[in-house]
Subunit: 168 residues, 2 copies
DNA sequence: GCCCAACAACTGCCTGAGCAACTATAACCG
DNA sequence: CGGTTATAGTTGCTCAGGCAGTTGTTGGGC
């Protein structure tokens, strides 16, 4: 055929997309067993890794793929399901925190081991250490270039602005 | 903090996801300039690279991230916009082809160069050739492992079942 | 202190996509 | 041939999520 679509750049993107889509599908399947969607898993993970298991709604939005209105709604659902609570922010009455409940933490505990197993099985375990390192190195450079401003931090008290390569 | 979330597996997935998300955002921005959504671009690309610039609805669904009902609707919209037409399948009256129109091909021609430039600028051009090769190699292995049955082919006449690493 | 701009969260409205039900056709089997 | 089963595509219903507009709160300028 010798057409434009064999261009190596197209192929490269195709690989990245297909790897991503394939992994996403595996993750979704496992998460569903624990009653979580991908978005909910990301939300609960971001919260659980934050000091006090909480984050202001805006910061949560900035750390996820969601708009603030999207966050409002996910948190609504997860609050209804008992995984999260809202807590008023003491020094700014406009803000509120989303906080993981005990039930939420437990759910995460139940989910994480399987999640890690899947990552290992389908991703990191597919490559020997140097190949994996090379892959991650490449991804990191692309990520840094394209960085859509990830890592919007928890902006209240002492917090470190560490490099963030967050969860699913 | 020394918690679970610093696990290298989590970090690896984070990198893949953030690279993907970042690239997607760049693509969307450029495609929007040409009046295409990501899905529409994928559809028109898949069709344009197929023999006769056409594909049966089902095969199109299999090649994209869409369900068959999703395909029905995208094709509806794109037909309304003059980028595609439906054509009856001569030997199976249940099936119909989605065919790219001249206007559709032209739109694609206008869009592709910029698209390739963006890939180069933010992805392939970020790495020297060996590093890129290593990255793609790793992605290919993950993709092959996780292969969600991509490459559902054009199943009518003479068609090659080539490895497919399709477009965005 | 008062006013106005900036900001946090929420809500109404709309679009896109999936599932399941439905229709029409095809294929298979007696 | 007639009937049963599978397949292609479309449509109704539902839900998730974005944008833009609203409300309540804060802070800065005077």
């Amino acid at each position: 055929m010798t057409n434009v679509f064999d261009d190596p750049r197209i192929t490269a993107v195709g690989l990245l997309y297909e790897a991503h889509a394939g992994l996403s599908a595996r993750f979704s399947a496992q998460l569903e067993e624990h009653g979580l969607s991908s978005v909910e898993f990301e939300v609960i993970t971001r919260l659980a890794r934050s000091p006090g298991n909480q984050l202001r709604m805006t910061d949560l939005a900035a750390q996820t793929s969601l708009s603030t209105s999207g966050v409002t709604r996910v948190v609504d659902r997860m609050e209804r399901d008992g995984l999260l609570t809202r807590r008023a922010c003491p020094n700014d009455r406009r803000s509120s925190y989303a906080v993981v409940t005990a039930a939420g933490l437990q759910r995460l505990d139940e989910t994480l081991p399987g999640h890690l197993r899947i990552i290992e099985q389908w991703f990191t375990g597919q490559l020997d250490p140097e190949a994996l390192a090379a892959l991650l190195d490449g991804l990191r450079r692309v990520r840094d270039a394209v960085h859509p401003g990830a890592t919007a931090g928890s902006t209240d008290q002492g917090h470190e602005l560490v490099e963030d390569t967050g969860a699913a």
